[in-house]
C-alpha cells in the first residue's frame, strides 16, 4: 500500500497560513458580507484546505484572489464552507424525546411557531413536519427553516433526496417513533425521492445568518442542532443570546446530541426535560 510520504506543511508555514486565513475571512466579510471570522478555526481551516484541493490552488491567498473576482468560485466557496451533512430523523432518540416532552406542551397552544435554524438541505424541517402531522399539530404550526446559503435553501425547497438514503431514513423514522410507513411521505422515481409537497405547506424556507441577522419573531420552539459546533465560543454565546431573545417564556430549545450549554452563561436560563436529551425549556 502506498501513501504520499511528504506532508508539505510544517510548523514554519503555520504563521503564514494563519495570516492568509485571517485576510481571506476579512476580505469575504468586507466584499460579500458573510462573516466567518468567529467560526471554529479548526473546522474552517479543514474546509478551506479541501476547497484549495478542489480548486487546484496552492495557497489561501490564491483562493482569495479567485473568489473576489469570480462569482461562480464564490458560490462554490460558500457551498464548501457552509454545508453540513444531516439526515432525516438524525438521532432518532431526540425525536422520541420531542414527542414525549415538547408535543404535550405544544398541544396547549392555538398556534405553534417553530424556528429551525441552520436547516441545510431541509432534512430536519421535513422530519419535523412529519412528526407534527402525525401528532395532529401540523395544521396549526409554522416552521421557519432558515439557512445562511441561498443555494442550499433552493435545494431544501425542492425536497429531493437520493433514493438510496430512504432505507436509512426509514430506519431512523421507525426508531423516532414514526406511526405510519415512511414511504407514504415521498415518491421515488429512479434514483431520487421527492418529499410529498403537502409536507412543505407550513414550512417557510428563508435566508437568515446567525452571525449577523437579529431576532425576527417570537417562537415556541427553536431547534438548532449541529450548527453551533462550527462556531467558536464567543459566537456560540451570541447565538444563544439570540435564541433566548427569540423564545417565548417556557419555549423549547433543541440542540445536537453532543452539544452542551454547560460552561455557557445561558445554562441557568433553561431546564433540561430529561438527563442526556438536549431538549430544554426556557425558565428565565
Amino acid at each position: 500500500m502506498a501513501f504520499p510520504l511528504k506532508d508539505p506543511r510544517g510548523a514554519a508555514d503555520d504563521g503564514l497560513e494563519a495570516l492568509e486565513l485571517e485576510l481571506l475571512l476579512e476580505a469575504v466579510v468586507r466584499h460579500y458580507g458573510y462573516d466567518f471570522r468567529d467560526y471554529a478555526r479548526t473546522s474552517i481551516r479543514r474546509r478551506i484546505r479541501n476547497i484549495l484541493k478542489a480548486e487546484g490552488l496552492e495557497t489561501i491567498s490564491a483562493l482569495q484572489d479567485r473568489i473576489l473576482h469570480d462569482p461562480t468560485a464564490w458560490e462554490r466557496f460558500l457551498q464548501g464552507i457552509s454545508v453540513s451533512v444531516s439526515a432525516m430523523f438524525r438521532d432518532p432518540h431526540f425525536f422520541r424525546a420531542f414527542r414525549r416532552h415538547a408535543v404535550p406542551v405544544l398541544r396547549t397552544y392555538p398556534f405553534i411557531r417553530i424556528w429551525q435554524a441552520g436547516c441545510s438541505l431541509g432534512e430536519e424541517a421535513y422530519s419535523l413536519a412529519i412528526l407534527l402531522q402525525e401528532e395532529g399539530l401540523y395544521d396549526r404550526s409554522l416552521i421557519y427553516a432558515t439557512d445562511i446559503n441561498e443555494a442550499t435553501l433552493r435545494r431544501a425547497r425542492e425536497g429531493i433526496y437520493p433514493a438510496e438514503l430512504m432505507q436509512k431514513y426509514t430506519q431512523n423514522y421507525i426508531q423516532a417513533g414514526g406511526q405510519r410507513s415512511f414511504s407514504e411521505y415521498y415518491t421515488a422515481r429512479y434514483e431520487f425521492a421527492l418529499m410529498r409537497p403537502a409536507l412543505q405547506q407550513n414550512i417557510v424556507f428563508s435566508q437568515h445568518n446567525l452571525v449577523s441577522d437579529g431576532a425576527f419573531n417570537e417562537f415556541n420552539v427553536v431547534l438548532c442542532r449541529n450548527v453551533m459546533i462550527y462556531f467558536n465560543r464567543p459566537l456560540q454565546e451570541r447565538t444563544h443570546t439570540l435564541f433566548h431573545k427569540s423564545l417565548s417564556m417556557f419555549g423549547i430549545l433543541g440542540l445536537g446530541s453532543k452539544e452542551t450549554i454547560r460552561f455557557l452563561p445561558h445554562e441557568a436560563l433553561y431546564e433540561q426535560f430529561e438527563p442526556g436529551e438536549k431538549l430544554y425549556r426556557r425558565i428565565a
Binding site: 506543511r9 473546522s43 479543514r46 444531516s86 453532543k258 460552561f263
Partner: protein, 191 residues
C-alpha cells in the same frame, strides 16, 4: 519537549487493544487522552461505560467545545468527527465521512498535530482500514511522536501497516508495551 496530549486511533479489534493500553495508565496521568474507535453510526455511549470499567482514568464521551483536562479519556462519539480546536478544547463536526469513516482517525490526528505540534503523541493500533496513516504522517511532519502497534501483534494488521508505510514512526511496539511506554514519555522519564 514533553508531550501534553495523546491521541489514539483504532478500528477492528480496537476494544481489546484499548483496554490493554488504558490499563497501564495511572489515575493521575498528567495529560488528556483522545480516542477514535471506528464503530457504527447508531452506537450509543456503551463504549465509554465499558472502557470506564477497566481504567482508573475518567472516561467521557467528547462533547462540543469540551475543555481538555488531564487524567481524562475523551472518546469520539459515534457518527461525529472529533477535532482538536486551538486553546486546549475539543470540537465536533458532522461533515461527511473521510475515507468512509466518521469519526475519522485522520481528522483527529491532523487537527491535533496542527494544534499541538511537537507536544503530541499519535498512537495507531489494530484496524481493518488505512485510516490514520495520513494523519500520522502529519503528526510526524509537525514534530510530534508516532507510536504504531507492531502489526504482528495486531488483531488486524492493515491499519498499523498503513501507518508504518506512510511515515517514519518513532516506536513500533507490541501491544502490551504501549501503555507503559506512553507513561514514560508523558512523565518525561524517557526522551
Amino acid at each position: 519537549m514533553r508531550p501534553t496530549l495523546v491521541a489514539i486511533g483504532t478500528s477492528l479489534g480496537g476494544f481489546n487493544a484499548l483496554l490493554s493500553v488504558l490499563k497501564a495508565l495511572p489515575a493521575d496521568l498528567p495529560v488528556p487522552v483522545l480516542i477514535v474507535q471506528h464503530r457504527g453510526p447508531a452506537s450509543d455511549g456503551g463504549l465509554v461505560d465499558l472502557l470506564q470499567r477497566y481504567t482508573s482514568l475518567r472516561v467521557v464521551e467528547a462533547e462540543d467545545k469540551t475543555p481538555l483536562v488531564p487524567a481524562t479519556v475523551f472518546v469520539a462519539p459515534a457518527d461525529y468527527h472529533l477535532l482538536v480546536e486551538e486553546l486546549g478544547s475539543l470540537a465536533l463536526s458532522t461533515e461527511g465521512p473521510v475515507r468512509s469513516a466518521r469519526p475519522s482517525i485522520d481528522v483527529l490526528f491532523e487537527t491535533a498535530a496542527d494544534a499541538y505540534g511537537p507536544a503530541l503523541i499519535g498512537v495507531l493500533l489494530t484496524g481493518a482500514s488505512a485510516d490514520g496513516a495520513h494523519g500520522l504522517a502529519r503528526v510526524k511532519a509537525r514534530g510530534g511522536r508516532a507510536i504504531v502497534q507492531d502489526p504482528a501483534t495486531a488483531e488486524c494488521a492493515t491499519m498499523p501497516a498503513a501507518g508504518l508505510a506512510a511515515t517514519a514512526v518513532d516506536y513500533i511496539l507490541p501491544l502490551e508495551r504501549i501503555g507503559d511506554h506512553l507513561v514514560s514519555l508523558v512523565e518525561g522519564t524517557r526522551a
